[in-house]
Every structure is written in structure tokens, then in C-alpha cells.
């Protein structure tokens, strides 16, 4: 158990170090999120009422679009630099690599989520403060669901033709429950409804997270084989 955690940590550490030195993914994702805000503004128009109605959907559209770009790159470094074999050489349970990669992705996506939320409050002039605890729960659960399947599928599509195309096509329909649950829960949280009104969505999210995580841990070794 301890060695498992240590191996997973080494993978996270490696990825974070690469990201800190190259700043490749985070910078581009931040810029992309900023651009999305402009696109949303053009699509919805200046009407405040309409904006309030579509805001939860837009927020998660932003998360998922940046998530697709970020998650899809999970194993690109290993592929391009021929380090896939090195990953394979990690002794013991291969799912430690999955957990490590997943943790890195969750960290990356949470960073993007916080940035995106901050940008939303500024550009669309909304007050998120009262909903922050509820929003945090939704974002963490939603990110975990998105990243757990995303990491697994990214490992699969990394070596496939038309990888950029196949990854979203594969991931999006599978993630419909997560998307619906997060949008609905965010909607209720922003409207100031009591927790009981949307607790069932959080339960569904938690159930989805558990199923995806278990499936990912169990099946990852089959994906990693050369």
C-alpha cells in the first residue's frame, strides 16, 4: 500500500515538474478558457436574465472543453518521447501509474476550474461567494468523474490514429451523467437552493466517481501494454 502510494506520487511529481518547467499545458489552457468566455459572451448576448439561466451550462461547457484538451494530452509526452516503455518498466501494480496520472489531471483541472470561476465572476459580474462550499463539492466530484474516465481513455487514444478526434468522441457520451449532474447541481447551488434539493445529483456524481475509479484501476493495466 505504501509503495503503491509512493509510486503513484512519483508519477504525479514527474508530471508536475515537467509542467512547472515547461508551463506548456496550463498556460495554453488558461488562454483557451479566456477565449471561451468571449465566445460565450457572443453566443448569449448582453441580456443579464438570459445569462443567469445559461450560466451553469456555460460554466461546465468551459470546464469540459478545457478538460478535453488537457486530459487528451495526458500521455502525449510519453508517446512523443518514447517513454512508454519506461512507464511499463515500473515494477508492481500498474494501476499506481493510473492513480498518479489521474491525480495530476485532477490537480490540473481543478486549477483551470478555479481560474475559470474567477474569470466568470469578473467578466459576467456574478457573486459566487454564498455558493462556494456547494460549488466546491460539485467541482471536485465532477472533476474526479471526468478525469477518471478521461485518463483511461487518453491512455488508449494516445497511440491511435486521429487521436485528437477520437478522444472527445469516445469520452463525451460516456460523461453525460457527470455533465447533467454537475450542471443541475450548479444551477441549484447558484440559485441558493438548500442542499436537500440537489443532494440526489451529488449522490449520483459520487456513485459515478466510484464506478469509474474502480473500473479505471482494474482495467488500466490492459491499456498500458504496448
Amino acid at each position: 500500500m505504501l509503495t503503491f502510494a509512493r509510486r503513484a506520487f512519483i508519477v504525479v511529481w514527474k508530471d508536475l515538474l515537467i509542467e512547472r518547467r515547461s508551463k506548456e499545458t496550463l498556460n495554453a489552457l488558461f488562454f483557451f478558457a479566456l477565449l471561451l468566455l468571449f465566445v460565450f459572451q457572443f453566443a448569449v448576448g448582453p441580456d443579464r436574465e438570459r445569462l443567469a439561466g445559461t450560466l451553469p451550462g456555460l460554466l461546465w461547457l468551459g470546464f469540459i472543453l478545457s478538460g478535453l484538451l488537457g486530459l487528451g494530452r495526458t500521455f502525449v509526452a510519453e508517446r512523443e518521447n518514447d517513454c512508454w516503455e519506461a512507464l511499463l518498466l515500473v515494477p508492481g501494480d500498474k494501476s499506481a501509474i493510473y492513480v498518479g496520472k489521474l491525480a495530476g489531471n485532477v490537480l490540473l483541472m481543478l486549477t483551470v476550474a478555479v481560474l475559470l470561476l474567477a474569470l466568470f465572476t469578473i467578466f459576467f459580474n456574478i457573486d459566487l461567494a454564498p455558493a462556494i462550499p456547494a460549488l466546491a463539492a460539485v467541482v471536485v466530484l465532477g472533476t474526479l468523474g471526468l478525469a477518471s474516465v478521461g485518463t483511461l481513455f487518453a491512455a488508449m487514444t494516445a497511440s491511435v490514429r486521429a487521436r485528437e478526434l477520437l478522444f472527445p468522441v469516445l469520452l463525451l457520451p460516456v460523461q453525460v451523467p457527470v455533465l447533467l449532474a454537475t450542471v443541475k447541481a450548479t444551477e441549484a447551488a447558484l440559485a441558493g437552493e438548500p442542499l436537500a434539493a440537489y443532494a440526489h445529483w451529488l449522490q449520483l456524481l459520487a456513485a459515478a466517481d466510484v464506478i469509474y475509479l474502480v473500473a479505471g484501476i482494474l482495467t488500466f493495466e490492459f491499456v498500458l501494454e504496448p
Partner: protein, 215 residues
């Protein structure tokens, strides 16, 4: 063996048609349009049964690495998609005169279509992997995740929106449908199931020959 299955399927389908058009009475409010139900409902049952089999066969493949388990999973997903497509198309044809629209974002139409897209992704993925063994592994992983995900999709979309009439057959407290209509569905289900099994047997034989030719 396969040939017998084919003849049995033909008999089952003929019996199903007889039940749907001969034995079952004309429905009072909807008229003859209601007879689409005898295709619509059995088709989705067969499709979902197929996806369940695909999940089981995929688990078997990952554990044993036997090529025939993967061939079964592959064939079953293809056939399941055909029947799910039949379900969606027949529902759409029924929806036009009854609901007044070809398509509506009702809960069950939406969730069934999402399941359709998930398994379409499965075939797309297999197609883009060149090595057969790797395609088999990747496909198996997707099929294993997709099956429990069907429940999540249905639950979430149900909470999201619902307009479709509640299930008339599979629900607590027994069916709200006369036995004669019920019987039509069951006979058609058996017929469709036999047809699907025949398709799968044919497809598996073809996949096996493809694998032999490639080897």
C-alpha cells in the same frame, strides 16, 4: 447449427408478425400506429441484452485473452447497435403521428440515443487501431465501462427530463397492459432474439475468418 438458428429466427419473426397484425386487436385511441410497439419494445430489449453480453464477453477476454471472446463481444455490439437503431427509428416513426414530432428531447429517447453514441464510439475506436490484439483490448475496456454507465445515463437523464409514458411492462405492481398485447411483445422478443443470435453467429464466423486471413 447456424442454419437451424436462421430458420428458427424466421419462424419466430413470422409468429411475431402474426401476433402483431393478426391476433392483437387494434388499439382504441392510437389505431394501427400502436402496432409499432411490437418492433419498438423487443428491439430495445434485444439491444440492451446484447450490450450486457458484450460486457461479459469483454471481461472474459481480458481475463483469458481468448480471441473468440473478443469476436463475440465485437459481433454482439454491432448487432446490438442495429437493433437499437431500429428501436430509435421505429420510435421516431411512431412519434410523428402520436406526439406530433419526429424527435423530442424526452428522457428515454435521449438516454437511448446516448447509449447508441457510446457504442458507436466503441466501433470507431476499434476501427482506428491497426493491430487486432490491441483493438480487442481497448474495445474490451470500453465495453466494460459502458455497461454500468448505461444505468447512470438512464438515471441522470430521467431526473433531467421526462415526457415518455412510464414503462408499461417492467415496473412494480405488474403490467398495465392486456395480456394479448403483452403476448405479442414476448413472441416478437423471442423472434428478434433468435434473429440477433443468428446475426451474431454469422458475424463471429466472419470475424474468425478475417483473423485467420490476417494471420
Amino acid at each position: 447449427m447456424t442454419r437451424t438458428l436462421g430458420w428458427l429466427a424466421l419462424v419466430g419473426l413470422a409468429a411475431g408478425l402474426l401476433m402483431a397484425f393478426g391476433v392483437a386487436p387494434r388499439e382504441l385511441t392510437q389505431g394501427n400506429v400502436q402496432r409499432i410497439m411490437y418492433i419498438h419494445v423487443p428491439a430495445v430489449w434485444v439491444a440492451y441484452l446484447a450490450f450486457l453480453v458484450a460486457c461479459g464477453a469483454s471481461i472474459a477476454y481480458l481475463l483469458t485473452r481468448r480471441a473468440d471472446a473478443d469476436q463475440l463481444a465485437h459481433a454482439v455490439v454491432e448487432v446490438g447497435l442495429v437493433f437499437l437503431g431500429l428501436n430509435i427509428a421505429s420510435g421516431s416513426i411512431w412519434g410523428k403521428p402520436t406526439w406530433g414530432t419526429w424527435w423530442t428531447w424526452d428522457a428515454r429517447i435521449t438516454s437511448v440515443s446516448i447509449v447508441f453514441l457510446i457504442y458507436l464510439g466503441y466501433l470507431l475506436l476499434r476501427q482506428s487501431v491497426d493491430e487486432g490484439e490491441r483493438a480487442a483490448r481497448y474495445g474490451a475496456v470500453v465495453a466494460v465501462i459502458a455497461a454500468p454507465n448505461i444505468f447512470l445515463v438512464h438515471q441522470s437523464v430521467n431526473w433531467w427530463r421526462t415526457l415518455h409514458q412510464p414503462a408499461s411492462l417492467l415496473k412494480a405492481g405488474g403490467a398495465t397492459m392486456p395480456a394479448i398485447l403483452w403476448g405479442g411483445i414476448i413472441v416478437n422478443f423471442v423472434g428478434f432474439g433468435l434473429l440477433a443470435a443468428y446475426f451474431v453467429a454469422r458475424r463471429v464466423a466472419l470475424l474468425r475468418r478475417e483473423a485467420q486471413a490476417a494471420a
